[in-house]
């Protein structure tokens, strides 16, 4: 079985965001780029599925971006992915355009199972997997915390408000991974050495229409530092009074 994993590269979550001079993107100075945390769960699940299905299964990792993304693809190879593909694009793309590039590539590779992270921690839309599924005409289960594949059949659990939905569907399908699905493996030394030798296939990303125009990027209004009401429980009645009378939230 051919399995695809869509990955993206994002600023480290500890990054303090500074707005770039164009006011439409962040200032990249000093920003460390990492593999999107949710994509690590996607890679792990793809590798586990490959091990389980066996045969001549292959795991492809695919990303859309510039040359810097090779670092992230190399990390996925070091974890155990078989092939990496970089769909080169440097311009501004929205989720729809990225999903289009990914789905075209997945189609030409003939992958029938696709894993994505449930969202990337930069633009946070959380929709790329669903878009890819819809574009390919595949079934989709998003925000998955438990995944079972039995032949053609998928039984997955997805996280929703107040609990989990058990979802049944069939291949071909896209699954988006939520934290809790698995424990991503560390790259072994052997994996790291092997990844260094692999080539990352580069192709131009097909340029599709971009519907989203970013007008402005700005920081949220900073909060005024509040009042410290005290250092022990004697401050509690005053806190409750303020919550009730001033904030009116209880």
């Amino acid at each position: 079985m051919k399995i695809a994993v869509c990955v993206s590269q994002v600023p480290d979550t500890a990054t303090r965001i500074k707005i770039g001079s164009d006011h439409k993107s962040i200032d990249p100075t000093g920003v460390t780029l990492i593999i999107n945390p949710y994509d690590e769960f996607a890679i792990e699940e793809a590798l586990k599925t490959k091990e389980k299905v066996g045969g001549d299964s292959l795991v492809y990792v695919i990303s859309v971006g510039d040359d810097s993304v090779k670092e992230t693809l190399r990390k996925a190879l070091a974890m155990g992915a078989d092939e990496a593909i970089l769909l080169k694009s440097s311009g501004n793309k929205d989720s729809l355009a990225i999903a289009k590039a990914l789905s075209d590539e997945i189609k030409s590779l003939g992958c029938e199972l696709v894993f994505c992270g449930k969202q990337s921690v930069d633009f946070d839309s959380g929709i790329t997997g669903q878009l890819v599924a819809e574009m390919l005409g595949y079934n989709c289960v998003s925000v998955v915390v438990d995944f079972k594949l039995d032949g053609n059949k998928i039984i997955a659990e997805r996280e929703i408000e107040g609990g989990r939905e058990v979802v049944e569907t069939e291949l071909p399908a896209v699954v988006t991974a939520q934290k809790g699905l698995n424990e991503p493996r560390y790259a072994s030394l052997k994996g790291i050495m092997a990844a260094k030798k692999k080539t990352i296939a580069e192709k131009p990303a097909f340029d599709s229409e971009v519907f989203t125009e970013i007008l402005d990027m700005h920081l949220p209004p900073s909060k005024q530092p509040g009042r410290i009401l005290g250092t022990d429980k004697s401050a509690v009645p005053e806190l409750v009074r303020l919550l009730r009378e001033e904030a009116k939230v209880i």
């Binding site: 949710y38 946070d124 250092t231 806190l239």
Partner: protein, 322 residues
Amino acid sequence: MAEKILAVLEQREGNLKRVSFEAASVAVSLASQLGFEAEAVVVGSEINNLNELSKYGISKLTHLKNELLENYSPSAYSEMIALFANESGAKILIFPNTAMGVDLAPRVSVKLNAGIAMDCMKLEVKDNDIIATRPVYAGKSLIDVKLKSGVKIFTIRPNVFRPQPVDSATVQVEIKQVENPNLKTKVTAFKKSEGKIDVAEADIIVSGGRGMKGPENFHLIEELAEVLGAAVGASRAVVDAGWRPHREQVGQTGKTVSPSLYIACGISGAIQHLAGMSSSKYIVAINKDKDAPIFNVADYGIAGDVFEILPALTEEIKKLKS
């Protein structure tokens, strides 16, 4: 005929959710500014509280009905909503940014070739167009975006747009029986998390961090949450240590939340955590270290011992409620 804006409502277990009224209100408000008509659509089997929608000024609600659609089916719901939006000629669709909305809206966007902006916190009409403000980097930054497509989809963050009741409005409810829904993907069961309010939906959240010292002390958080009718939240450190389940995690790799009140207990305020909760309306911090970054975003703070303050706070609120 005026152009249409369509609120896509969400029901669970046969009841419209609160966020559905928020979506309806947003649709009504945008429609009046744009000279559009606001309509609503909902998919499901029996739905009990459809008439409650009349309070919010929507003129027409269509219930796409089939007994097989009691539970969510992404394949069926997305097909039916896209078909209905097409037939009714809707130019703008508003979805709640809930687990269901986030699953559904992108699929509908592909079917309608519509641009999409998720998790909007503000929708402003300017020059006859909509400017959406949405958080990125878990709320560390905001972007204003405009969609350039013919049909546009926006999802709204729960708890941010308050439903606005309108005087003496009526809603015309039309029930459309749907045949042969596409059930290629379907929900076969729901496993409820035990008696808990979900952080993503809660109006009040009581959250615990590393300062709680161990999972055995979280009963103090739960007791306060109980008297407040609040959800229990947790910091990443606590979730990674296995003290609390991931569904309670607030922050950049957990949930970004906007409740009315967020009470942070023993949380120092890592940047990832602050990103996820700083759009809360009011923030209370209880932490021993008066220099902890959490106090920079808190409206009210007590720089003391959580083990002393939490029980006192629970008692004080109990007194107030009795």
